[in-house]
């Protein structure tokens, strides 16, 4: 077998990256393009689509729904993540490994399976589909991510730090507040952000479990049937892209801070 030259490898990497990111970079271009048709050549710069976006009431409701769901999912999955990570790091109990495995399982299950089976179960239970049903579904898939992030934070913490705090007269709750929380805070922030992002752009489960209130991805999907609305979707996509980049930067900053604190 012949070894590829470094130049061939570099070309491969460049092509790979262009294919991966070209569609994403096209998004902002058409969001500012003064034409209802998504096609080259470009017709001129405009902020018109953002103005129209502002007028879309249904879209705003969908965005609000998505935000409510994403925030709830982030908080819930982080809470479950804290409880799980703490239990895994500090306690021994029967069935520890199987329980951990089950909590992490949604990571490997196809979302469509989760969506369909949850839909069947919810309907059998006679529960009406609502924002809550989506929150439950999203929490299920976001929790494994929270657990892995928080497990690192809790495992890296020297147990004698807690003991030192108790030894210095602090209560268990005070120790949690004054030592454990500040030390895992970067992990908490990471977990909240990842839960938020996962929920915000999740489509399959949301599609199955939404009732009359669509989430943003479900709404965008429904918009695609109307070509005239496409530039508005592009404008919305641009805003979401910016939001994601901001959240991603925060996530990275939190992760680095966590490394500095726990890594000594």
């Amino acid at each position: 077998m012949k070894h590829s030259s470094p130049i061939a490898l570099s070309v491969f990497v460049v092509i790979y990256l262009v294919f991966l990111y070209a569609p994403i970079f096209l998004l902002p271009i058409f969001a500012f393009n003064d034409s209802a048709v998504i096609a080259f050549p470009l017709s001129g710069f405009t902020l018109h689509w953002f103005k129209e976006l502002w007028g879309e009431d249904v879209l705003f409701r969908a965005a609000t729904n998505s935000l409510i769901i994403a925030v709830s999912t982030a908080v819930l999955s982080t809470c479950f993540g804290v409880l799980t990570a703490r239990a895994m790091a500090r306690h021994q109990f029967i069935g520890k490994k199987p329980i951990f495995g089950l909590i992490m399982a949604p990571l490997f299950l196809p979302e469509i399976i989760i969506g369909v089976s949850m839909l069947i179960v919810l309907l059998q239970l006679g529960l009406a589909l609502s924002l809550w049903t989506v929150i439950i579904g999203h929490t299920l898939i976001a929790t494994p991510f929270s657990v892995s992030i928080l497990a690192t934070a809790f495992n890296n913490m020297d147990r004698s730090l807690e003991e030192a705090s108790l030894d210095l007269g602090e209560t268990r709750i005070g120790t949690f507040r004054r030592v454990i929380l500040p030390l895992v805070a970067p992990g908490l922030i990471s977990s909240l952000l990842i839960g938020f992002i996962i929920s915000l752009d999740e489509f399959v489960i949301a599609f199955f479990l939404t009732g009359t209130d669509p989430t943003l991805p479900v709404y965008i999907w429904s918009l695609l049937r109307f070509p005239s609305k496409l530039p508005i979707v592009m404008a919305l996509g641009f805003l979401l892209l910016v939001l994601s980049l901001i959240l991603l930067s925060l996530f990275e900053a939190a992760r680095r801070r966590s490394e500095r604190l726990t890594g000594g």
Partner: protein, 363 residues
């Protein structure tokens, strides 16, 4: 219980599952004493310390600190503070915040807290380090912060869990003296856990030597070193040469021992640290109590001819391993290298001698 006992441990036992870690310990530690728990890793010394601190609960037995039973008293309610092996400096706080950590609940004013912190940092030689973040501290400085953080609580007992093991040799020796000085100045009871026999000898008022969950011997450093109760203790605290003998009789006047090589040996009663029955015993002599007899005219109570098997040259002294007739085990002899004194080589024939008073009788 005597009035001056600060810590009293009686028949303390601890299991981790099936494993017995502490197997019945009785201990009285006096107020203001520097007490060391010395033993190899896994002997239960750290578990014992952690039970005194309140981090582990005993399966049976009791601990009393300053006259108060500690059963059901949590670590945060006990009049003890601990210096951890890993120092356990809070990484998100600076030096000042670390040291003042425990005073939050004391109800002291901010000024009073600052005064105490200043005094503590001065005591541990860290003046001006108030705002230094904890990750910017060296090992020795972390050690001092941990010490200040514990001492500022004015504990009745300070517990030290292998506090010097992570420091390099120079710094460790310096800290040994400093800890000793601090303990003398403050008059607080110190309980030190260590596996380093030299450290225990240098620092302690009394030492408890532990093996396998039990205390083998309690005594002053000199008692432990010079009068070990058995071969195990003797070998753990430094090196000791063992010779076979048979204990014939014990009386108030002395001990009579029969030796194949030396015939009848008569020793003082105090040369038997733990009472033994007549029968096979071991005679112990420390390497520095034996000497190489350089000149033909040099004489000693007991003498043996031997051959140097190996020489370890330490600069200030030479450590010989010598094969002698009538003993399978080699003898260790330590000689100070003074002016004009010959350092032998491997294979040289030498004459060894030691005095009657340098021997102990043990199991």
């Amino acid at each position: 219980m005597k009035q001056q006992d600060m810590v009293v441990v009686s028949d303390l036992r601890k299991n981790f599952g099936e494993l017995q870690v502490v197997k019945g310990i009785d201990l009285n530690i006096g107020a203001g004493e520097f007490f060391s728990l010395l033993g190899p890793s896994g002997c239960g010394k750290t578990t014992l310390l952690r039970m005194i601190a309140g981090f582990e609960t005993a399966n049976s037995g009791s601990i009393t600190i300053d006259g108060k039973p500690m059963e059901g008293v949590d670590a945060n309610e006990r009049p003890t503070n601990m210096v951890f092996q890993s120092y356990a400096i809070f990484p998100h706080l600076n030096v000042e915040q670390n040291v003042a950590y425990g005073l939050k609940k004391s109800g002291l004013s901010a000024d009073a807290v600052r005064g105490r912190v200043d005094a503590m940092l001065k005591l541990v030689d860290l003046e001006g380090y108030h705002k230094r973040p904890s990750y910017a501290l060296s090992g020795g400085q972390k050690q001092r912060v941990a010490l200040a953080r514990a001492l500022i609580m004015q504990p009745k007992v300070l517990l030290l869990d292998e506090p010097l093991s992570a420091l390099d040799k120079k710094l460790r020796e310096q800290m040994q003296h400093e800890l000793r000085r601090l303990q003398r100045t403050l008059g607080i009871t110190f309980i030190l856990v260590t596996h380093d026999q030299e450290e225990a000898l240098i620092m302690s008022d009394r030492i408890a030597v532990m093996f396998d969950g039990r205390i083998a011997q309690i005594g002053t450093p000199r008692e432990i070193y010079e009068r070990p109760v058995n071969r195990h203790v003797a070998s753990f605290i430094g090196v000791m040469n063992f010779l076979d003998g048979t204990l014939k009789s014990v009386s108030k006047k002395g001990l009579q021992i029969a030796s194949k090589t030396f015939g009848s040996i008569y020793l003082a009663p105090e040369q038997m640290p733990a009472p033994l029955e007549a029968g096979a015993v071991t005679l112990g002599v420390r390497p520095e109590m034996m000497s190489v007899l350089y000149k033909a005219s040099d004489q000693a109570d007991y003498e043996l001819q031997g051959k140097v098997v190996s020489v370890d040259y330490y600069g200030d002294m030479s450590f010989y391993t010598i094969a002698v007739q009538g003993s399978k085990e080699h003898l260790a002899v330590c000689m100070r290298n003074t002016v004009g004194r010959h350092v032998y080589d491997e294979g040289d024939a030498v004459r060894l001698g030691w005095s009657n008073a340098s021997m102990v009788v043990l199991r």
